[in-house]
């Protein structure tokens, strides 16, 4: 920036030459302020989503820039919520970007006193083995009268109600096929 530009940009100069002699408005505005735009305007994409908290089902718009969620706000198009959100829905971005969020698998071995790291693939394999073992240990083919039971009561599940229908469908389908009928969710609570 040349000396001339500096002078022209000096608010005192603008006060003396412009429409704002008292220096309380136009003359005092900084270049940063002049260039300010909402960060949502620069978003690479906007995903249309639904709030994960209560069951009202408020519409959300999720703004993404460089693979990061930069803002989540109400979707004004939604006839249910008309763009509004409660404090929890409004905090959705803080929810998914919370520093407390866990992003790696943690493992506590029997009688362990601390968490350990574990590879996701290994964890999945270990869980599969344990499911099969529990099934084998506790399988019930028939009842006392010989009527089919086809089940294990050695495995249980409690699901939240923030899961998608598609997820619930696969969970129920798999558990039913496994013979694991002890499956429950928040709706009972």
């Amino acid at each position: 920036m040349g000396l001339r530009d500096r002078l022209l940009g000096w608010p005192v100069y603008r006060q003396l030459t412009g429409t704002d002699p008292l220096g309380r408005g136009a003359a005092a505005r900084s270049p940063r302020s002049a260039a300010l735009t909402p960060r949502t305007e620069d978003a690479d994409r906007v995903a249309r989503s639904v709030c994960p908290y209560c069951a009202v089902g408020c519409g959300q718009r999720v703004f993404v820039t460089d693979g990061q969620v930069t803002q989540i706000e109400g979707d004004p198009d939604s006839p249910i919520s008309r763009g509004r959100l409660c404090p929890k829905g409004t905090a959705s971005r803080s929810l998914i970007t919370s520093p407390l969020r866990q992003t790696t698998v943690r493992y506590r071995r029997p009688y362990g006193t601390e968490w350990e790291d574990l590879d996701l693939d290994t964890a999945l394999d270990m869980i599969a083995d344990r499911v099969l073992a529990a099934r084998e240990q506790t399988w019930e083919d028939v009842d006392a009268e010989g009527r089919p039971l086809n089940r294990t009561l050695g495995i249980a599940s409690l699901g939240g109600a923030t899961l998608d229908n598609e997820e619930n469908y696969l969970i129920k389908k798999l558990f039913t096929a496994m013979g694991a009928l002890q499956i429950e969710n928040q709706a009972r609570i």
């Binding site: 000096w10 005192v12 008292l22 220096g23």
Partner: protein, 313 residues
């Protein structure tokens, strides 16, 4: 005064009390000292009292340097102090003050530097300086003296131009308190630094300054109704009472002990201490008035009721 009946949000202050800390109260003092000293120096310069002039100029430089330091230190972002020169706002006493200081500071500095002329060599470039400095110093000294009353009184507007109830409502009298305090502190410098034989003007200045300050303070402490209360109570009340006592003592000492160098000096110190106490007292009175919602709500309620009564008539 009957206890004020008023309501509030959990008794919490409506206003935010000043974030300014001791630096600003101290600056009120150092700014006043600088102003008083420059006036003293100019008087000495014009009336040929070299000792007075020299003491005034040195003190002014020291005080204005301290002032600048205190002001920068009080900023939340000290490295951005130069943003003060971004605009010139007549609506902002701090902006006005910045520009006053910008005018005053170099002048006071130059005047003080000029006192060093006799120490310079007679030849070479510094020889030129030795010859040029005294007249430049005189001009600078006079310039500083011209700016000094502004420097000494704008700080009253700085405080009054806030929502702080006891400062704002005192806007008519605070400038006199501060002007008097500046004069008295300048006089104190004179009494401390010069021989009693040259200190006549300083003694007279002390009397005048003390008179202004005491009168102003009396009005502030008594004429603002509920809003005078913070000036009379608590820490502010104690400081202001101490300031008054020190002022009276300083003036008395200056007048009665005019032949004693020691008594003069002690009187000068008392006057300076009085100024410190007064400035901190005023400062704390304002903070106290902002911290208690009573001083916000009750006068405003009264104002509304008055207006309602007027329009009923």
């Amino acid at each position: 005064m009957p206890p004020a009946k008023f309501t509030s949000y959990y008794g919490r202050p409506i206003l935010k009390p000043p974030v300014w800390t001791w630096e600003i109260a101290a600056y009120l003092f150092t700014g006043g000292v600088a102003a008083g000293s420059s006036l003293l120096a100019a008087g000495g310069q014009l009336t040929g009292r070299a000792e007075v002039r020299r003491a005034g100029r040195f003190t002014a430089l020291a005080a204005v340097t301290a002032s600048a330091g205190l002001l920068v230190k009080d900023l939340g972002r000290p490295e951005r102090f130069h943003h003060m020169l971004r605009v010139a706002k007549p609506t902002s006493p701090m902006s006005v003050g910045t520009w006053i200081l910008t005018a005053y500071g170099p002048a006071a500095g130059l005047a003080a530097v000029a006192e060093a002329a006799p120490l310079l060599p007679t030849r070479g470039p510094l020889g030129v300086a030795r010859r040029v400095l005294p007249p430049v110093g005189s001009a600078a000294g006079l310039a500083a003296a011209v700016a000094a009353p502004a420097l000494g009184t704008y700080t009253a507007v700085l405080l009054a131009d806030t929502a702080v109830p006891s400062w704002h409502e005192a806007y008519a009298d605070l400038p006199f308190v501060f002007a008097g305090s500046a004069l008295a502190s300048g006089a104190g410098v004179g009494l401390l630094a010069v021989s009693p034989s040259e200190a006549g003007p300083a003694r007279r200045l002390a009397v005048a300054g003390a008179g202004l300050e005491l009168l102003g303070a009396h009005r502030v402490e008594n004429r603002l109704g509920l809003l005078s209360e913070p000036y009379r109570t608590g820490r502010a009340g104690r400081l202001l009472r101490a300031g008054r006592a020190l002022t009276v003592a300083g003036v008395a000492g200056a007048l009665l002990g005019r032949r004693s160098r020691l008594v003069s000096a002690v009187s000068g110190a008392a006057l300076l201490a009085a100024s410190v106490a007064t400035r901190f007292g005023v400062f704390h009175a304002g903070v106290a008035s902002a911290r208690d919602p009573k001083y916000t709500v009750v006068p405003q309620r009264a104002r509304l009721d008055r207006r309602a009564a007027e329009s009923d008539r």
